[in-house]
Structure formats: structure tokens, C-alpha cells
Amino acid sequence: MLSLSGNRTGENVDAARLGEGAGVDDGPLLVDFVDRCFDPEQPFGAAFGELYERRGHAFAVDAAAVVAAFHMMTRVADGSGTPLDSSLESISHEIRAGNSLDDMDSRRLESELPVGPG
């Protein structure tokens, strides 16, 4: 969707450089925000407070809401075995390679997944 949104509007979005902000306005700031939302060392509200100071309350609330939505969507996708359909599979090859997505647990073969000690 990140690539599609860039392609459809003619903006230069490079989803293969996700960790660097993908060329999106405020990309590094937003990536840092998301990363801090999932950092167990960060106190609740710290990442939000910083984004709020830099971009205002409404911007920070909307960013937090998108994080929450995809905290949900990832569980629905992984919990249901949602497959990549053939068109998404073919157009996402470069993005998957650029972000090492095929190395993720959710992409690996079942036999490679952790089953516990012993």
C-alpha cells in the first residue's frame, strides 16, 4: 500500500528503504515514532509526547491510531494465514528483498519456527 500510494500520486516513495523513511515527508521522524512505540525500554507516552511536541496533538493522535490499527491487522493476517495474492506477490518482490521481509518468522517454513526448549 505504501508503494501503491506513491505510484498512484506520482510521488517518489521507495518502500524498499522502509527503515530510512521511504522518502516520505517526515519519514525518519515517523519511523522513529513507530520504533519507540514498540521499545519496551520506553515509558508509556514517551514517543507520543515527543511527536506531539514536534508536530502537534492531532498529528500525534492520528499517528498513534495508525500504529494501533496495524497492531490489530498484523494479528488478523498472521492469525488467519492470510496469503499474499499473486499480484501482491509479484509487485512486492523488491520491497521484500530491501527490507529482508522473507527472513521474518511469519514468512519462514513451519519447520524452522521455534518449538521450545528440548
Partner: protein, 226 residues
């Protein structure tokens, strides 16, 4: 930091979704639905437990209350889906469904777990209190099955109908669970009607590319290749 009010439609969604758990669902009773949400909170409080940890092994045999009404497979699934969703596999899903009565039990549970994770995660990010869980109301689940729902593309049965993308397709066998997730998507991400058509959508703050960047990075942080 000044505590400004949160956008009203977000607050309304959080309250409506959590309140709905206090009513009987399609395959779970209201007490069980509230217990599922409470168990999500138990699990979220112990994120360092490994994926292979089955909390049902540590269950107190004399346990009572709403959580005691949940089958062991449900408890273990809630923990796994909350803390380690990326480690879920087809065989794990099949074995979990075998421990519940029907696949639709799992689909409804998945919708509740996912929605509660979203709402609670939002509260933690903005450092606000979690929405209080409701008191279960009486009544029985409808057990209404969707005609023609079958396992075709996903590990779970899905139904034909309006197509809103492969992820949202996951919950179509239990329309009430699908609605729960749609409500969260609509207010937190964007209205489903514009998702595949308005590539310049914004709420006056984040533009569409920024929304998608946050979505993609959040999926990455959750180890979700999709």
C-alpha cells in the same frame, strides 16, 4: 505535556467495541468474550514469555470466574496471538481450532483479540487508562453460520461477498467479528470505502503516504511480512 482530548470518533470506537464484548457474540457468550479481552490484558502484561509458553499449563485447577470458562486452547491462542503472532503456523492454527468447537469460534476469538490489542495499544501509546471491561449481559450466542463459508485461501473459513482485501477477508465467516475490526480500521486507519480508491486520503494531519509508512513500519515491528 498537556492532556488534550482524543479525537471523539476514536474514543467512541474504543468504548463501542469494548462495550460490545459484554453482549453475547456469534459463538462465544458475553462472559467468554469479556474473559477473552481480560486474557489479552494478562498476556500483554507478560510480553517476554516465549511463543511456546502455554499459560493453560499453569492454570489453577480451582480457578473460578469468567476466565475459567475459556477452554485451554482459547487461553493459549490468546497469548500466542497477543505476544507472538508472527510465529503462528497452519498446523498451530489447525490444532487450536481442534481444541475449540468449530472454526468460527477461532475466527471470532481472533477478531476480539486483534481489536482489543489495538485499543489497548493505543491507550498505552498515548498514556491513557485502558477502557474498563463491561459486565457480561445474559443471553446465548446466535451460532448463526454464514452459508458457503469454506477454507479456500486462508487457514480459516472465509465467505464470499464484498472484497476489502485479503486481510479483512479473514473474518468474513463471522460477520460480527469482521464488523468489530472494520470499526477500528475505519477510525484508526481510514474508511474502508476509500482504502483502495482514494490514494490522496488524509484527515488533515498525516497524508496517505505517511499513513502507509506508519502502517508498514508497524507491520515490520510486528514481524508481519504481509
Amino acid at each position: 505535556m498537556t492532556q488534550h482530548p482524543i479525537r471523539a470518533d476514536l474514543v467512541d470506537t474504543h468504548e463501542a467495541v469494548i462495550a460490545s464484548l459484554g453482549r453475547p457474540g456469534t459463538f462465544w457468550t458475553s462472559a467468554e468474550r469479556v474473559a477473552i479481552a481480560a486474557t489479552v490484558r494478562d498476556a500483554a502484561g507478560q510480553p517476554d514469555r516465549p511463543p511456546w509458553y502455554n499459560p493453560s499449563d499453569d492454570r489453577d485447577p480451582d480457578e473460578d470466574g469468567d476466565r475459567a470458562s475459556l477452554p485451554a486452547a482459547a487461553i493459549d491462542a490468546i497469548w500466542r496471538l497477543t505476544n507472538h503472532p508472527s510465529t503462528v503456523t497452519g498446523s498451530w492454527c489447525a490444532s487450536t481450532i481442534a481444541g475449540l468447537d468449530e472454526p468460527e469460534h477461532y475466527v471470532e476469538l481472533l477478531g476480539i483479540v486483534a481489536a482489543v490489542n489495538a485499543i489497548d495499544r493505543f491507550a498505552r501509546i498515548v498514556d491513557r487508562p485502558l477502557v474498563e471491561l463491561p459486565v457480561p449481559s445474559p443471553g446465548q450466542p446466535t451460532r448463526q453460520r454464514v452459508a458457503g463459508a469454506a477454507v479456500t485461501t486462508h487457514w480459516v473459513p472465509t465467505a464470499r461477498g464484498e472484497f476489502n482485501g485479503m486481510v479483512l477477508q479473514s473474518l468474513t465467516a463471522v460477520p460480527a467479528a469482521e464488523s468489530l475490526v472494520h470499526e477500528v480500521v475505519g477510525t484508526h486507519y481510514m474508511p474502508i470505502a476509500v482504502m483502495l480508491s482514494d490514494w490522496d486520503y488524509d484527515r488533515g494531519t498525516l497524508n496517505r503516504r505517511q499513513i502507509e509508512l506508519i502502517a508498514a513500519r508497524t507491520s515490520f515491528k510486528n514481524d508481519c511480512f504481509y
